[in-house]
C-alpha cells in the first residue's frame, strides 16, 4: 500500500513538473474572456452558454491530460529505462500499475476541483453583474446541480485514464495507444446507435454483433449529463449511483487486465 502511494505521489509531482496544472490557468482565462464577449452575442443566454462552455472545457482539458499523459505512464518509464530501477526496488508490479493510475487520476481530480472553483467564481460574477431579467425563470447561475455533471466528468476521465494505462501497459508506441484510447472514447459516444442497430440493418448477425459491442465497449454517453444540469433538469440519485458503479467496475476490470499484462512482460 505504501509503495502504491509513493508511486502515486511521484506521478502527481511529475505532472506538476510537466505543467499539467497550467491547463487550469488556460481554462480560467477562456471562461473569463468568454463571459465578457457573451453579453454582446447571445440575446440574454450568457449564463447558459458559460455553463456549457465551462463544463465542455473541463471535459476537453481533462480528456487531453488523461489520454496524452495516461498513454505515457508506463511506456515512458520503459523508454527511459527507469523501469528497471523501479522494479529493482521492493515495488510489486501491481503496486506500480495501481500507483501510476492513482497518481494521474489524483492529478485530474485536483485539476477538476480547481476548475470547478474557478467555474463557480465566474458564474457568481456573472450573476452579480448581469441585469436581473437576464435569466428569470431558469436555474440559478451557481446551481449546485452542476456539480453532478462535474462528478460524472471526473468518473469519465478516470475511465479514460484506465483505458490509456491499459494500452500503455503493453504497447510501446504512445501514438498508437493515444489513438486507440481516443478511438474508444469516440466509439463510446455512439452506444445508442449500436443498441438500435436493428432499426437500420436486417441481418440478425450484424444486430447481434452490434449489441455485443454495445455492452462490451465503454458507454461514455452515459456520463454526459451536461445539457440536463445546465437546463436544471433532475438527475436521479439512482442514475448517478448506477453510472458511478459502472465506471468503477469497468476501471477495476481494466486495471486488473493492465496488471496481468504488465506482470507477464519481460523487460530484458
Amino acid at each position: 500500500m505504501r509503495s502504491t502511494l509513493l508511486v502515486a505521489i511521484h506521478v502527481f509531482r511529475d505532472s506538476v513538473r510537466d505543467k499539467v496544472l497550467y491547463s487550469i490557468v488556460a481554462f480560467a482565462i477562456i471562461l473569463m474572456a468568454s463571459s465578457f464577449l457573451m453579453g454582446q452575442l447571445t440575446a440574454g443566454q450568457d449564463v447558459k452558454i458559460i455553463k456549457d462552455l465551462g463544463l465542455a472545457a473541463m471535459s476537453l482539458f481533462g480528456l487531453f491530460i488523461a489520454i496524452f499523459i495516461g498513454v505515457g505512464l508506463v511506456s515512458r518509464e520503459i523508454e527511459r529505462r527507469s523501469i528497471y530501477a523501479v522494479l529493482a526496488k521492493p515495488v510489486l508490479r501491481h503496486e506500480f500499475i495501481v500507483g501510476k493510475y492513482l497518481g494521474l487520476v489524483g492529478t485530474l481530480f485536483v485539476n477538476l476541483a480547481v476548475m470547478a472553483i474557478a467555474y463557480y467564481g465566474v458564474l457568481e460574477y456573472m450573476a452579480l453583474t448581469l441585469p436581473a431579467g437576464a435569466f428569470t425563470g431558469g436555474p440559478p447561475a451557481t446551481d449546485p446541480r452542476l456539480l453532478l455533471a462535474v462528478g460524472l466528468i471526473g468518473a469519465e476521465l478516470a475511465l479514460v485514464t484506465a483505458i490509456a494505462l491499459f494500452w500503455s501497459s503493453f504497447s510501446s508506441s504512445a501514438l498508437l495507444s493515444a489513438a486507440f484510447t481516443a478511438g474508444l472514447w469516440v466509439a463510446g459516444q455512439f452506444g445508442a446507435d449500436l443498441r438500435n442497430f436493428d432499426q437500420v440493418v436486417a441481418s440478425p448477425v450484424a444486430v447481434w454483433l452490434a449489441r455485443g459491442l454495445y455492452y462490451v465497449l465503454p458507454n461514455f454517453a452515459a456520463f454526459d449529463i451536461k445539457a440536463q444540469v445546465v437546463h436544471g433538469a433532475t438527475v436521479s440519485g439512482d442514475y448517478m449511483a448506477a453510472t458511478l458503479a459502472y465506471a468503477m467496475a469497468y476501471i477495476a476490470m481494466l486495471i486488473v487486465a493492465a496488471v496481468l499484462v504488465f506482470s507477464r512482460r519481460d523487460f530484458k
Binding site: 443566454q45 447558459k48 465542455a56 431579467g133 459516444q189 455512439f190
Partner: protein
C-alpha cells in the same frame, strides 16, 4: 519586435488586399442528425455556437440595407440548434417569433414557426409556453379560432398560468381588434420570462398607443377640415386653432407626420415605431 511586425503586416494586408466577402452564407452541415453525431459529447456547446451564429445571421440580415431580405438559413440553423440541445427554450421561442414575423422584420413563415414549436412540445410536453406561442402565431395571421384553440390547449397543461383561458375567450370574441391585441401584449409584458420578449411587448404596446393617438389626431384634422374647408397644412395650424397645445409626438418621442393634402396622420419613418401594424394583425 517580430510580433509587432507580424501585426503590422496583417493590418497592411487588410488595408490593401482585403479578400472579397463571401457572396452568401453557407451551412456546411445541413443535417441535424449528422451534426449531433459529429458533436460527440459536446452537443450543448455546439448548439450554443449555432445559436450565436443564428443571432448574428438574423441581426445582420435585418439590419442590412438590402430591401429584399431573405432569412433562408434561419429555420435550418434553429433546427440544428434545437436538435443539438432539445431543451434550448429561447431558440424555440425566439426562432418561432421571428420566423412568423412578416418581412422585412422576419421570415414570414408561420408554418416553420409552428413546426419548430411542435418540435419543442415533443421534447418538453410539460411547458405551456410552446402551445401558447403557437396560438400567438395563429393570432398574428388572423386565424383566431386556431389561436383560441391553442391558448385553451396551453391552459390545460399542468402548472399553466391562469390568464390563458380568459385570453382564449377574448381572442374568440374580439379577434382582429386592437383590444385583443393589447391584452396579448400586456400579458407578455407582465409575464414574459425573457427580457427580449418583454422589450418586444413594450414596443408593440407603444405602437398600439400610437395607433390610438393617430385616431384621435385624425378626428381633430377632420374637425379642422369641416371648419375651414381644407385639411390643416401643418401642426401649427391646429395649435393656432386651439385643437392642440404642442406638436404631438409618438410614444417614442418622434413628432407625428401630418399629410397636408389629405389630413392623414402617420408616425415618422425615423420613428422606432415605424411601420405600425395594421389593425388586424399586430
Amino acid at each position: 519586435m517580430l510580433a509587432g511586425t507580424v501585426v503590422w503586416l496583417q493590418m497592411y494586408r487588410e488595408r490593401h488586399f482585403r479578400a472579397a466577402e463571401a457572396a452568401q452564407q453557407i451551412l456546411y452541415v445541413q443535417s441535424p442528425a449528422v451534426m449531433k453525431r459529429l458533436a460527440l459529447s459536446f452537443d450543448a456547446v455546439v448548439a450554443d455556437l449555432y445559436w450565436i451564429r443564428t443571432i448574428q445571421y438574423y441581426g445582420g440580415t435585418r439590419l442590412s440595407r438590402d430591401p429584399d431580405k431573405h432569412y433562408d438559413l434561419l429555420y435550418p440553423m434553429l433546427d440544428l440548434t434545437t436538435t443539438l440541445d432539445p431543451r434550448f427554450s429561447i431558440a424555440y421561442r425566439f426562432g418561432a417569433f421571428f420566423l412568423s414575423e412578416r418581412a422585412p422584420g422576419g421570415a414570414g413563415r408561420p408554418d416553420l414557426a409552428i413546426a419548430l414549436l411542435k418540435k419543442a412540445m415533443a421534447t418538453s410536453p410539460e411547458s405551456w409556453e410552446y402551445p401558447y406561442d403557437i396560438g400567438f402565431v395563429y393570432y398574428r395571421y388572423a386565424q383566431y379560432e386556431q389561436a383560441a384553440d391553442w391558448f385553451r390547449r396551453a391552459a390545460k397543461v399542468p402548472g399553466a398560468t391562469n390568464w390563458l383561458e380568459p385570453l382564449a375567450a377574448v381572442t374568440l370574441a374580439a379577434g382582429g381588434k386592437l383590444e385583443a391585441s393589447r391584452v396579448l401584449w400586456q400579458n407578455l409584458l407582465a409575464n414574459g420570462d425573457q427580457q427580449w420578449l418583454r422589450r418586444t411587448a413594450e414596443h408593440r404596446l407603444q405602437q398600439l398607443d400610437a395607433i390610438d393617438e393617430i385616431q384621435r389626431l385624425q378626428s381633430l384634422t377632420a374637425a379642422y377640415e369641416a371648419r375651414h374647408g381644407a385639411p390643416p397644412p401643418t401642426w401649427e395650424h391646429l395649435i393656432a386653432d386651439g385643437a392642440l397645445r404642442t406638436v404631438p409626438r409618438d410614444p417614442a418621442g418622434q413628432p407625428y407626420v401630418l399629410n397636408p393634402w389629405w389630413g392623414l396622420v402617420t408616425v415618422s419613418q425615423d420613428s422606432p415605431l415605424w411601420p405600425l401594424p395594421t389593425e388586424r394583425a399586430p
